[in-house]
Assembly symmetry: C2
Homo-oligomer: 366 residues x 2
């Protein structure tokens, strides 16, 4: 292999694929990235066996070929090099990198040892813009379960039906659902479950909102493809909870309030709920406010007020502050609505003007 | 105690003193900060028994008094509150903090439990501007030994003699010396050794370069004082090595080169010297360059060139890359000089145009 490309493009690609590499893994080859040539471009690949990425960088190919190199060393090296044209050459399983006064050689491993990142050959199922997909992921990823005690809960539910994509996640304490509206009729997809980690990695790579993302699916895997990359991931087996049934319809009390102001009030309350399982009380008052109280901590207590347009019944409810922080930290600025129906029923948080987003929080018992 | 002050000023003060607080200490009171009133201002105090800080914040004092509160909770709370006037009141060992819709109470401990931070009453020894002192600390702190195997090496040597302040540190592998020139005659100080941690903390607090820092010393302690704060620290007992004798006079080879370009070459070489004890070879060539080579690593090797105006003999030497990175990372941009006399003698690095700074590096054997 002998190629040249721009340091800035290579650096972006290497940084992107390196995030997937496990430093601590037992298989040495998985701490490497595969560098190869494909259709006149340089292709960087990494995989952790659960998911894999191929990322393409514009390059001048003098000689086709491939090699794998340790991801950490290679990405640190490329990031330290100056801007400009960099020459890469493979000889005897060593990669030679040259740019403007810097000559380095990295010992690699044969590309034959590198696990295949499967490309899904089935027909494309659906296309969506990167911007819509990235926003949707950001609004649902945080309510997936962080561990795999119940594997289905560590994933993001994904379904395509009647011009809509449904994304949802729940750790059984709270639930997020975001719907993306499609303009053209697409093939339906019965529900599948995608690992949340795959979706988080995907959303990081989606940096140009105008790009089109094509999605391919087979029995066990999903592939997201743009003209710059392919991300392939296993799917999670199992049945996602029938979450639709727990989304409340109607509410006794409804508040409209500013997201950022509410966030600071909740942040302050969360400081005083660390030793009380995150427990904070929200008092909805039709006098135009929500009072947020954290008490019972050995460290002290706090009582703050957030202006809110409250309609319906005066009411109060106890939530885990973490579950409110998570959603507020991931929503853009602007108004939100918060609806409750007494102490024992789940609350519903929405973005004002976005009927396609729903966040449901289970209350805590007093 | 009942006072009011601006959130922004309080936040700056609390952030500053909280850095000294040990979270993991065995004495609960040391994880607290002392809040008290003094001469019409609010005084925030923290100590780790080795050093202590008093930081003053402008405030309206309605009633004098004092209390201690957990540093972590208090600093997180203050940083989350909105800008504006905050009211603080102490009642029954609880601190009440109020601002614009936020009411919080933090349970404290009696201020009588808080260790006294001694003020040194001896006559002022010396005054220096904060800017000069901060720059000097930044140029010497990193060569102090990180552990206390030999306590004197974990400190910064400090001496005042004939209109000069000498600061120096060495871990026995390299040495930094910076001289501050005084305008007015000051009392001489025979050498003392100040913990490097104290000096690092001091340099963080010195944010206005024009401020005057007064220095007081007694047998066992030093105090740095401005109109905003006092930092008091124990001194390290013992005798600092006679470092002057190891600073080479004259050199066989001298190079003048750009600091930032040299830094990138050394950074790249350091990547390939992680498994070879940091070992990198510098080849000085009177053809106008220094070649930096890292070889012998199991991961590969690198060979880079930095333009340099080299005079004297062509020569080479092996250094630990870490010791060069440390100094380059702490010097401002501009030209530096690097002088060596063969493979076995220490090298000397200086900032061009600054005859008052000297960095000496011991070579490694091949």
């Amino acid at each position: 292999m002998k190629i040249s490309c721009l340091q800035e493009n290579l650096n972006k690609g290497v940084t992107t694929v390196s995030r997937l590499v496990s430093i601590k893994g037992t298989l040495e080859i998985l701490s490497h990235i595969l560098i190869s040539t494909e259709n006149g471009r340089l292709k960087l690949s990494a995989t952790n066996l659960e998911m894999g990425i191929n990322y393409k960088v514009g390059a001048k190919i003098e000689k086709e070929g491939s090699i794998t190199v340790p991801a950490k060393l290679f990405s640190e090296l490329i990031s330290q090099l100056p801007l400009g044209k960099i020459d890469l050459e493979e000889k005897d399983e060593t990669l030679y990198a040259k740019i403007d006064g810097f000559n380095s050689q990295i010992k690699g491993l044969s590309s034959e040892e590198f696990p295949l990142i499967p490309k899904i050959k089935e027909k494309k199922i659906i296309s969506v813009t990167a911007g819509e997909l990235k926003d949707a992921i950001q609004m649902v990823f945080f309510s997936a379960a962080p561990d795999e005690t119940r594997p289905v809960l560590s994933g993001i539910y994904f379904k395509v039906e009647k011009l809509k994509i449904y994304l949802a996640s729940t750790d059984s304490y709270r639930l997020s659902e975001k719907i993306i509206n499609l303009k053209e009729k697409e093939t339906s997809i019965k529900e599948i479950i995608i690992p949340a980690k795959t979706m988080i990695e995907l959303s990081r790579v989606l940096d140009d909102p105008e790009k089109i993302v094509n999605i391919y699916i087979n029995e066990t895997q999903i592939m997201f493809e743009t003209d710059d990359f392919e991300i392939t991931s296993r799917l999670i087996e199992g049945k996602f909870p029938d979450y639709k049934q727990i989304i409340p319809t109607g509410a006794e009390t409804k508040a409209v309030l500013d997201k950022d102001k509410f966030l600071s009030v909740i942040k302050v309350a969360s400081l005083f709920s660390r030793d009380t399982a995150g427990s904070i009380t929200l008092n909805f008052s039709t006098k135009g406010k929500i009072e947020v109280i954290a008490s019972g901590s050995q460290y002290g207590e706090t009582d703050s007020t957030c202006d809110a347009e409250v309609t319906g019944k005066d009411s109060d409810i106890i939530f885990n502050s973490k579950y409110i922080l998570d959603v507020l930290n991931n929503l853009p600025s602007g108004n939100i609505t918060l609806e409750i129906s007494g102490k024992l029923n789940p609350g519903v948080l929405k973005k004002e003007g976005d009927k396609d987003y729903t966040y449901v929080i289970m209350p805590l018992r007093a």
